[in-house]
Point group: D2
Chain length 357, copies 4
């Protein structure tokens, strides 16, 4: 039986490169030879034991690769094609999928919905920080890479570009909106880029790190606020002449950013939340107009599926957005533990790392 | 100068019938001779000093009456017409109004939005628990009562019918949805009726009082849950076979109902919040899927304006809903303090009182 | 090899009962033993040769039955379960499906969209006017029938209830809308019922046959207009006091009904079109306000999939609508040619026939 | 009584500069001293007698100017402020306005809707090709020009930018959509710019004139198709590899462009129509999938009001779009007949003219 290298979760604090069998290909699967992948903030949560997964699981949910083998029932693709798959791999047949909520895909459940059920790679099935990854329900999840795009150009599509853009989309951004984006990590930066692409007239980006604020300007921010230098709520209210913003995007997952979002919203505004929270949240009565402010709070998990991936790659192909600059560091799969060390400590100005098996 | 009787706020704990001048009619106003009005839960908050208004203000925001005098610039109406006006009286010219958010109408502000700015009657201008009330921006706010409808039949339109229905509308209820409505006071009952009218297949109503649960069945509830007899979250999960509801409507304004709404929502569900809260709210991490459940939390203030009132009255005229049974007690304006006493203590099975000057 | 009876298209004018092998069950299929099915207007188009299909194809797209055998890869269902499947059977993995447009499902195409590609039964694969039918992509298409519902109660779900309700849904009907529905055949009747369920305050139904007008009143129409007795445009303008309707639903497929819909729409109104047209359509300049009337014309093909079926059956189970009365005639599969004869000539006050193998 | 110069419609073929009294200012009006205005295609229709207006009416609906005098009831503005007003001037109090359909504003009608009723300037009241113009319902229609923007920079906001952008908005363009825009006159060019701002990945612009195709590339088109050199339907199908477009925008008002839009739409696509048609339209059966293609045809009249103007100017102020280059010719009001001669014959590569009193 052929073997492959894979980064597996061993126990809290330990993700190690291991040898595993190359997986068998079921009728609906596709086996992908991974050519590039990356590490996500969620993987760091897994590493730290903050998000529990089964020991022995291969981590990673952002694959770029080449079709090695197609399942017997898979049509419409051919071996050797360059493809990506989304972090979320919809089954296509759950009730959630048929309601357009594939991220909450309840395939195999009694009811058809399951919280985060669409997130399978590196969560409930083996992921892609490995030489090979098995893509389930391949006909709905393989998205061919347009000619002329490099691995690194499409590396953000499976997760952070899809998630960040979805933050803008769930905010319902309209032409002429004023938008604040709290935190300019990879997802916040993509939310900033998404807000620009949807027609926001003014985008205010909040972070502390100079390289992130600089990158956010490059991707669309009109104003940047260093929250370590001034109170971001005050600063945003000043920048909007007291009016507040139409849409506030939370891209960190803390009480303080969530609350700041509410405080800068105009009445009738929308808080679009992308962050993964780690404790209960508080909604302050005053910022919420006691429940009478016509506010909307909307949370969004990364949209997946081949149509989403096709659309995102088409934006890159046509030059609408260039996220390639977010790849700041490159590692071989053999050195993935070094990559985790760098990325989880946010050292050396890292945005995203490219891992090549 | 002609005088009229009016129920005015004196100080916390005291709303008294007083004599005031019949107001002058500005160019855009209409003077309405009130024929029937009612008391709202919000008025009780005012009475108790929980929602501060200026001493001397006439209370009340649910007028049914007859046009006594039209302002010089008002066209399209005639004196003697029977009309209602919504609790929210949009100016029609603020930025908020032009965005379809008239309840946050910022007329007169620098920016065009103001939290709850569309609520003027009995809040920022004299209300309608009086013999006469001045309707501002009359051309946008006077809604003629269709022939054949009595005062009591349309008495719920200005506030609770509009608010309760909006709870269903903001929930985005679709044909076949399962909906839970927490609290079956007048607004919750209207939310129940609204959910039925929008096509919910199953409506679960939660309250404690038998007369409310009975009324909710009459207005559309399929199941009623007495939260004093069983845990409503468990009961709703049982009734939905573990799936949860598509839309949960909060119609009370407490942490426990807000939290229960989140706990019964399926992934991807919508919490439509109508309650007026009196303290910070907590969002429990687990019920919120750590921010990854594609949840929506939407708050809604009563929609107003003549078009809204026209639509609501048309529903009553065509027999789609009958809220007349919610008028359980009747008082003369002279006895309004008795009405307050009854209503604020929820005595004698009261739903709503009709006050006739 | 086991044999079964099936109604097959032979040539224009001839649908005959034939013997065919019971189909083999592929890994994703389910074999259903049909217990009840029906004939649709589209089947009559096929019979007449107006809609071409391959000779030898089994006709019919509205199956109620029992799971006889599940494909090897199908989970979540068990043999012996009572189920229905929609007329549209989404693959779940096309780009169209992932955009929520499963009726235009382009599985197997290069691009992921195909006009009407989701309609497979009795169109591109064998249908259900037979003893057995093979349901493709069974995990997304089998919908268990709730306990207590008879075959005839759910017989309208696969097509006409789904289509008619979708006419109301695509119209974006809101509480208080005035709606006109042109033609009260089975689909128009379901559109009438759907308009009522979505909160229309006033529904005006147009047809000529007294039994249809009577049934439309039973299902929700407030006014009926016999177009053979008076001009329906004039009559609707009279009934709406000159204002016109918010939403007009076309449920026949002719120039005259399409045009009448436009003529009764208020500015800013929506024409929701369900009819299958057989010639080019004309949009009259005046009725279209020269293109400046903020009109919407929306066409809708029957939504399918198990989630849609689940929702529709839940409406029947909770008593929101009862379409059982639309089954006016019953035939054995052996006599299906008689059923076609009756149905295609609209004899004997027929609405829908039930066919039992 | 003060006099002013104004371009008035005399009879078909004649718009002449005339002297008229400076209008009196009613309580809700504002008198604007016009500093820059322009000529619209619609004005040419008026000139030619194709769109009838009352002889003696001042033409023009795109004003940039300075507040000269405010009506007695107007608050929130001050004399001397630089402002624009939209071509559509919502009353704010009609039923149509309260439904968000101010362009069909039925102020003064019995029912609250009137086709194109929101378009008053140069249609039902005196327009702005004059030294002064009276803005009705000024509180909802005066939009202050942000500091630093010139007259010519905001000159497109009142009509063509609002209309063209609305073509993209009504198309519901989403990130990753492929969009075709038929005709690249001023409105089509703005639709192209709007499609880019909303996130279209690929925009295909169709016209014949090289200067228009060049401008469309500058404003966002990825591909341009010269319909005099090749069949645009074939060309677009080729460019989209046979798939068709998600959204097709019609910006001319002819059968051939309308029909081409339908023919390039993928199933489930949206035709967003902006053109003013001059004859009945034909919908070809095949391009319409016989009514079963889940198509949407949406027409849109220019959105107006101060909030719309504020949003559009904010896009210019933040540099998102620069339409200043569309002003190709400049005239004094005294020479407006020359401007009409140039513009109506589309001579000399004209896009838009600036007229300064």
């Amino acid at each position: 039986m052929a073997k492959m290298k894979a980064a597996v979760f061993v126990e809290p604090g330990r993700i190690e490169l291991d040898e595993k069998p190359v997986p068998d290909v079921g009728p609906l699967d596709a086996l992908i030879r991974v050519t590039t992948t990356t590490i996500c903030g969620t993987d760091v949560h897994i590493l730290k034991g903050e998000y529990p997964v089964k020991p022995g699981l291969t981590i990673g949910h952002e694959p770029v690769g080449v079709i090695e083998k197609l399942g017997s029932a898979v049509t419409g693709f051919s071996e050797g094609q360059r493809v990506i798959a989304g972090a979320i791999t919809p089954s296509g047949h759950s009730n959630a999928c048929q309601c357009g909520q594939a991220a909450q895909d309840g395939h195999g459940t009694r009811h058809g919905w399951k919280p985060m059920g669409g997130w399978r790679f590196g969560n409930t099935i083996d992921g892609c920080q490995a030489e090979y990854v098995l893509v389930p329900d391949a006909m709905g999840n393989l998205a061919p890479v347009p000619d002329g795009l490099s691995d690194e150009q499409v590396l953000m599509c499976p997760d952070i570009m899809s998630t960040g853009f979805a933050g803008a989309e769930s905010g319902g951004i309209r032409i002429g909106d004023v938008v604040a984006v709290f935190a300019q990590g990879p997802i916040g930066l993509c939310a900033t880029a998404g807000a620009k692409l949807m027609g926001a007239s003014t985008i205010i980006a909040v972070d502390r790190l100079p390289e992130r604020l600089a990158m956010s300007k490059r991707l669309g921010a009109d104003h940047v606020v260093d929250f370590s230098a001034s109170d971001p709520v005050e600063e945003i209210m000043r920048l909007t002449d007291g009016r507040g913003v139409d849409v506030a995007i939370e891209a960190l997952g803390t009480q303080s950013t969530f609350e700041a979002c509410l405080r800068v919203l105009r009445p009738g505004g929308t808080l679009s939340s992308l962050g993964v929270y780690s404790s209960d949240l508080k909604i302050p009565l005053d910022a919420f107009a006691a429940g009478l402010g016509d506010h909307r709070i909307i949370t969004t998990l990364c949209p997946g599926g081949k149509e989403r991936m096709r659309r995102l790659m088409s934006m890159i192909a046509s030059g609408r957005v260039d996220l390639g600059a977010m790849v700041t560091h490159r590692y071989r799969l053999d050195d993935i533990q070094d990559a985790y060390e760098l990325f989880s400590n946010q050292r050396d100005g890292v945005f995203k790392v490219a891992i090549t098996p």
